[in-house]
Symmetry: C2
Subunit: 572 residues, 2 copies
C-alpha cells in the first residue's frame, strides 16, 4: 500500500515538487507537468509523453536527452486535462512541431486529442499517438482498442530518439507508429496497490493465484491462474507474446521484463533466466534487454514481458544514448543547449462577460449549486472510486472531487466578479475540465460550457431556456465522448433525465418542478446501467466483469441532479 | 512477499544467471559472484564489494566503470563464504591490489577477513573495510559496531571512483575510510519481506506503526512509532541524521533517500520535498541527490536517509561518471579495455589423502552421519529461520541446509573416493564453509577441519582421539568466531557438551556411550541460551529483543549432536 503522503489530495503536487528538486539538472516544472531544463533547439521536434501518475519512471522520469522533451503529469492513475497536455506541449515545443504520446485509455485519448486541436488552432503542428501494446486487452482484430502498458516505453523511446537525431515531425510520427505496430506486451498481476489515503486496495487478486492480462490500473484480466513457478511464468509470457509476432518481422528483438513495483529485481532476474533461454530457443536475438522497473503501478505485485521486433532503424534508436532522471544509457554528448528561462505561469484568468443584474443573480445561484455539489462529492469520493474500480481504474471519485472543487472555486470567483449565468457556468466548466483530469472532467466541462452558451448573461433564464441548455449540454457531451445510449456511460442517466425534463416543460410545468419531477428518472436510469455492457472506449473483457455494477459516471451525475433538487426544495 | 522462484534453494543461482544474461555487456560470472566484463587494467586497484543478496542494485548491480570491479554474491541476506570472497577478489585483481568492502555484519566481517588473509598468503595485497553508517544500531561511542545499510552505496562509490582515477591501494583504502567516517544513515520500516519459499514474513511491523532503525534484514529497530505523515517522517530522518554531523564537516552533502523495495518512487519524492526543504533550512547544500532504490531488502516497506558530508575530494568522486547495470551517471569514456577471457572455474577437486581400510570405514560412518544431519536440517529449516529472525537476519535455517547438504555431498564423494576419517571430515568442512555462507558455515567448516586434523587417516580413532578431536573443533570455532562463553552463540552449547564428553571418556567410558550421555547437556545448554544477552558481533538493541529466545546456532548444534546420538543407538 501507499503509506507515505501528506494530504492525499495534494499527493501528485507534492510528488512533483520532490521530483523536480531532486532532478533539477534535468527538468523544470511547467503548468501541467515537466519539460527538459534545456531549451528545445531550433529544428528539433518535441516529443511529449504522459498520462496519469503512479507509474514512475513513467512518465516524468524519462524526460531528458535521447528521450522525451516533456511529460504531462496527471493525478494518480488519472488522465491529465487537455489544458495540462496543451500547456506542457506548448512549453516543450521549439519550432518543429510536437508529437504527443500516451497509452490508449479513453481519458488520455480524449484529453490529448483536444490538446492537439487546441495547439493546432494556435499554429503549432501537433500530432497524437496512443500506444496499444497490451495483447490481453483486445483481440488482434481489434488491436486499435488495446491498452498501452509497458510498451509505452519502447514507443516513447524510439520516437524520442529519432527526434533527437533531427528528423521532421512526419518521420517522428511514422517511427512512433512503426514502433507501436512492432510492440507486444503481456502482463500478470499477483496483488493490488492502494491509492494514497485509501482504506482498501484498488483491487485484489486471490491468494496463491495470478491474473493474466490485468491492467496497470487494476483493469480486470482475461483469466486467473494458480501461481506458477518463475520458469512457468516465463514460458507463459514468452509463448503469449510470440504468438503475436508481426508478419514479416525479423528475429532481432528489444525486450523489457518490467516489474510493477513489488515484484523485485531478484525475482525478475530469476524469470529472465528462462525468458532468455526460451527466446533464444525460438530463434530470436535479444538486443540490450531491460530487466527492471520502467512502468510501475505504485506497489502493485506483478510483471510484464514486452517485445519490440526490430528493423535496422528501430534497433539504432533502441540502442542510442539517453540521459534522463530515471533512464540513462551510453554516452550522451555534453549538454550545450541554452538553459530554459523561467517558465511563466501560463494560466489565464477566467474571462468574464458583462452580465445584467438578473443574470448575476442566476449566476450566484449556479455558483451555490456547484458549491453544494462539490461538498457532497467529498463525502461520495470513496464510494464512487469503488464502483469505478470494478470496470475502470478507480479514479472517478477523486476526479469528481478535484473537478467539482475547482469548479466551485472558479464559479464563486466569477460570481464575485459579477459574472452572469453563462459566465459562472463557463468558468466552472473550464476549471472542472482543467483540474479533474480523467474522462469525466472534460465531459462535464464541455456540457457546462455548452449549457452556458444557451443561457447567456442577460436576464433570468426562462423554463424553455433551461430545457434547451440541458439539451445542449447533453449533446455536447454525447458528441465529445462518442458514446451512444446503452454504452454504460453518464449519458445513460443524462438522456432520460433531459427527456423527462423536456416533456414536463413542454406540458407547461415550470423548470424547478420539472427538475424535481425528473430526479427519480435519473436515479433509476443510473442504477439500471448495472445491467448494461459497454461498447466503446474500454477493452472488451471489462464488459463481462462490470455487469451487475452501475457506471460510476452515471451514478455521480444522478447525485448531482439530486443535490440541485434539494437546493430547489430548500428555496421553495 | 517474494513470489517468483523455481526451487527456493537455487534462488540466488537462478537470479545470478538471469542478471548475467541481461547485463552481459557489463559483467561476467566467476565462482562466488561477478566481475566486470573487461580486464582490470594494469596499475588499477580493484574494489570488490559484496554481502548477501536480496539488496539489488546492491551489490552486483554496481559493477562497472566508475564503480566496483567485482561483487561477491551470497545467498539472500547471507554472507558469502571466505572462499567465494577470495575467488571474486582474485578474478577482479589486476596487479595493484584489492580493497574488499561490505556492510558491518558478523558473517561478512569474518568471511571477508579470512578471504583477505588467504589473498595475502597468495601474494595479493588485499585490504578490508566494513561500512558502519547505521546510526540506530549502536551509540556514537560504539560507532565501530554499527551496521552498514544504504551508506554502503556512498562508501563503495567514492572508493571505486578514486580507484578508477588510478590511485594506489593505500589511497583507495584511506578514501573508503574517510567516506565511511563522513556517512550517516537512519532508516525506518513499515512492513517485512518474505524469503523465497517461506510461508510467513521474516518479520512484521504492527499495522499503522513504523519501526525506527530497523535493519535491512529485519534486525529489530530502536523504537516504534505511530505511522507519520511524509513530512513528519522527513523531519524525523533529517533531524536524526544531522544530530550526528561530524565535527569540522562542511555544509556540502551527498544525500540518498533510499527505498527498501515496496516504498515507491512517488512516495519517496513526496518525502524528498520536505527533506530538501529541511536540509536547505539547516544551511546544507545538497549535491546531486539520489532518490530511489539503491540498497533494497526484497519487497520490504520502508526507507532510509543517508548523508555523506563532502570535502572537495569526496564531492569530485561522488559526482564522477559511472556506468554499471543499475547505476549510470554522466559520460563514461568509451570502453577500450580488453574483454576478459573466459574465466576458468577455479573450484578445485577435494584433496584426498591416502587412508587405510579402518580409517576408510570410519570415514564412511562420518559421511553417513553428515548425510543424516543434512536430511534433518531440511525439516528444521523454517523453525531455525524463525528463531534466528528474532535477533538476527533469519538466515540460519537456510545456511544450515545449504551447508549440510553441500557437506554431505562432499563427504559422500570423498568416501566413495576411499578417503579416511580426516579426508571425509575435511571435504565436508570445506564444502560447508564454501556453500553455507553466513557466519555459521565458516565456523562449522573450521571446526570440522580442526577435528579432522586430530583424527587423521590411519586406523580407527580411539575414544581419546574423539575427545581430543571435539576439543580441537571447539577451540578452532572459539578462536575464529571470537565469541566467549555467555555470548549467546553455538559455543554455549558446544562447550558444555565437549566438557561432559571429556569427563565421561576420562572416567573410562567409550566414546559412543560418552556421546549418548552428553546429548542432554547440549540440549539443555542450547535451550538456556534464551536467557543470555549477546556481547559481541551484534548491535546492542538486539540483546534486549532476543532475551527469551534461544540462539539458533546453539539449537542447530544440539540438533546435530542428537542426530549423531540416534545413529549410535541404531548401530548398537
Amino acid at each position: 500500500m501507499t503509506r507515505l503522503f501528506n494530504d492525499p489530495a495534494t499527493f501528485t503536487e507534492d510528488m512533483l515538487a520532490g521530483f523536480l528538486d531532486a532532478n533539477s539538472t534535468y527538468v523544470v516544472g511547467v503548468p501541467g507537468g515537466v519539460v527538459r531544463a534545456s531549451e528545445t533547439p531550433a529544428g528539433k521536434v518535441a516529443v511529449v509523453v504522459g498520462g496519469g501518475s503512479g507509474h514512475y519512471p513513467a512518465f516524468c522520469g524519462v524526460v531528458g536527452r535521447g528521450f522525451a522533451d516533456g511529460a504531462v503529469v496527471g493525478n494518480i492513475f488519472t488522465s491529465p486535462s487537455a489544458q495540462e497536455a496543451a500547456s506542457v506541449a506548448r512549453a516543450a515545443h521549439g519550432d518543429a512541431g510536437v508529437l504527443l504520446i500516451t497509452g490508449n485509455y479513453a481519458g488520455d485519448v480524449m484529453n490529448f486529442g483536444l490538446a492537439v486541436q487546441q495547439l493546432r488552432n494556435e499554429g503549432i503542428d501537433a500530432r497524437y499517438l496512443p500506444v496499444t501494446d497490451d495483447i490481453a486487452s483486445a483481440s488482434p482484430e481489434e488491436s486499435a482498442k488495446r491498452r498501452g502498458i509497458a510498451g509505452d516505453f519502447t514507443v516513447f523511446r524510439c520516437a524520442s530518439a529519432i527526434a533527437e537525431e533531427g528528423a521532421d515531425l512526419d518521420t517522428v510520427e511514422q517511427v512512433a507508429a512503426k514502433a507501436n505496430a512492432a510492440t507486444r506486451t503481456l502482463g500478470v498481476a499477483f496483488d493490488g496497490c492502494t491509492m494514497p489515503g485509501a482504506d482498501r486496495p484498488l483491487f485484489t487478486v486471490a491468494d496463491g493465484t495470478m491474473d493474466l492480462g490485468l491492467g496497470i490500473h487494476g483493469e480486470p484480466g482475461v483469466s486467473s491462474h494458480q501461481m506458477p513457478t518463475a520458469a512457468e511464468l516465463a514460458e507463459l509470457l514468452v509463448s503469449g507474446v510470440l504468438t503475436e509476432k508481426p508478419s514479416g518481422a525479423t528475429d532481432r528483438i528489444a525486450v523489457i521484463l518490467n516489474g510493477l513495483g513489488r515484484t523485485k529485481y531478484e525475482e525478475l532476474f530469476v524469470v529472465w533466466k528462462t525468458v532468455a533461454e526460451r527466446l533464444a530457443a525460438s530463434g530470436h536475438t535479444v538486443v540490450q534487454p531491460e530487466v527492471g522497473e520502467l512502468v510501475t503501478s505504485l506497489d502493485m505485485a506483478g510483471c510484464s514481458l514486452t517485445v519490440m521486433w526490430l528493423d535496422d532503424e528501430l534497433e539504432r534508436l533502441w540502442t542510442s544514448p539517453a540521459d534522463t532522471p530515471a533512464y540513462r544509457k551510453g554516452a550522451v554528448t555534453a549538454v550545450t543547449d541554452a538553459r530554459r528561462a523561467d517558465v511563466a505561469d501560463q494560466a489565464t484568468a477566467a474571462r468574464v462577460a458583462e452580465a445584467d443584474e438578473a443574470s448575476q443573480a442566476s449566476g450566484a445561484l449556479v455558483a451555490q449549486g456547484i458549491s453544494a455539489i462539490a461538498a457532497q462529492m467529498v463525502k461520495a469520493e470513496s464510494d464512487l472510486g469503488r464502483i469505478d474500480a470494478v470496470a475502470g481504474d478507480g479514479d472517478h471519485g477523486r476526479g469528481m472531487v478535484k473537478g467539482t472543487s475547482a469548479a466551485a472555486a472558479a464559479a464563486a470567483a466569477a460570481s464575485a466578479g459579477h459574472a452572469g449565468t453563462a459566465g459562472v457556468l463557463t468558468a466552472a466548466g473550464e476549471a472542472w475540465a482543467a483540474k479533474a483530469g480523467g474522462t469525466s472532467g472534460v465531459l462535464w466541462g464541455a456540457a457546462l460550457s455548452a449549457a452556458a452558451g444557451r443561457l447567456g448573461d442577460r436576464g433570468k433564464p426562462s423554463d424553455r431556456d433551461v430545457a434547451e441548455a440541458l439539451r445542449a449540454g447533453h449533446d455536447a457531451l454525447a458528441t465529445l465522448g462518442g458514446a451512444r445510449k446503452g454504452d454504460k456511460t453518464m449519458l445513460d442517466a443524462l438522456g432520460p433525465f433531459v427527456e423527462s425534463f423536456e416533456n414536463e416543460v413542454n406540458a407547461g410545468t415550470d423548470w424547478r418542478t420539472a427538475w424535481l419531477a425528473s430526479v427519480d428518472v435519473a436515479q433509476k436510469a443510473a442504477a439500471e446501467t448495472a445491467e448494461l455492457r459497454p461498447r466503446v472506449g474500454r477493452a472488451r473483457p471489462l464488459a463481462e466483469r462490470s455487469v451487475g455494477t452501475p457506471d460510476a459516471g452515471a451514478i455521480s451525475l444522478a447525485m448531482c441532479i439530486h443535490i440541485v433538487a434539494d437546493l430547489i426544495e430548500e428555496k421553495k
